[in-house]
């Protein structure tokens, strides 16, 4: 029984994976956990395209590389430290494509306002990432490939009303990562109004 707070504190962004397969029953537990997240009007507008087929994963990986090399890398240089940049670069240019499973999480706008999709879909994504952590799987929330919406929609044959919002690799971590670097919550919290320290 994985302890809740332990899972929360161990969650990290994994961008390098071992080649081993992920059994479907683990994937099912990850997807099932996602569906317990809240959503506006309880419309549950999440759509999971679970990509295991090699050629499709390769196309997604190629798209990610194009987005990275076509502008994202230049944008990130100077904004994030060299170590994180190198890790993101490795992920965007092959690491994430090497995961045995890539779940593209989309929002269905056919019965939900588009502005409510983020608050209705990213909580479900977070449940996925936590469930993966609880099961020993590596995962990451990436959005780079979703900036090339048309190409990604074409690869996955998404209809117009299904919007890709996150690309989540799942697999066995190449190596375990230590605790994440975070600013303590007290520096992010305010008491009653902005500017009053909690």
């Amino acid at each position: 029984m994985p302890d809740f707070f332990d899972v929360v504190q161990r969650q990290r962004a994994y961008r390098a994976f071992e080649p081993g397969e992920v059994p479907d029953d683990l994937l099912n537990q990850v997807l099932d956990a996602a569906t317990f997240a809240p959503s506006a009007e309880n419309k549950q507008p999440w759509v999971f395209v679970v990509v295991k087929a090699g050629p499709t994963r390769k196309k997604i990986a190629e798209l990610m590389r194009r987005a990275w090399e076509g502008g994202a890398r230049d944008y990130e240089q100077g904004r994030i430290d060299g170590r994180l940049l190198a890790d993101v670069e490795r992920g965007a240019t092959g690491g994430i494509g090497a995961a045995p499973v890539i779940v593209v999480v989309c929002g269905d706008s056919s019965d939900s306002l588009e502005q409510t999709l983020p608050s209705s879909v990213f909580p479900a994504v977070q449940n996925m990432l936590l469930a993966a952590t609880a099961l020993g799987l590596g995962s990451a929330l990436t959005t780079l490939a979703t900036t090339m919406t048309k190409d990604l929609a074409e690869i996955l044959q998404l209809p117009e009303h299904v919007k890709p919002m996150a690309v989540v690799p799942l697999g066995w971590p190449a190596r375990r990562l230590g605790p994440p670097k975070r600013t303590p919550f007290k520096e992010k919290a305010h008491k009653d109004s902005y500017g009053r320290r909690w």
Copy 2:
């Protein structure tokens, strides 16, 4: 030690609370859990305005009521079933304002692109909701009051670059809710491309 999957499956939207106070050490655990969520570039752009002061909570509750009565109720009628509508109505017209703590979660756009804020803030909100569940607290992800951005920003004295994104009540549940109604994940999952059943 709360079991991770049990916490995930017990999370519900609570919109009615007992009057009892929530000790700060529990609030701190909820806020701390939030900071372990992922964010674009690890910028951690979340801002938590933790409102315990009665007059401020009252102003937020009043704003929520105005948003509800000024259009949201009319919009929701016919879109959601009568039971959920009644529950949301009770929450929007007093139930949420009666929570002893309201956390307004914001996104800081000063060092993050605005389009990356949702994927960087809602996972942290989900961690909050799950942590509250693990601790026996009721909580909910609401966005109604954030549609009245200017008024909410004025109440909380938010600077221009801090965008309110969610209003999360925290408190002891008036009554425990049973398991949530959800569509099974298999109906939301596709294999390799859209339209192929998982």
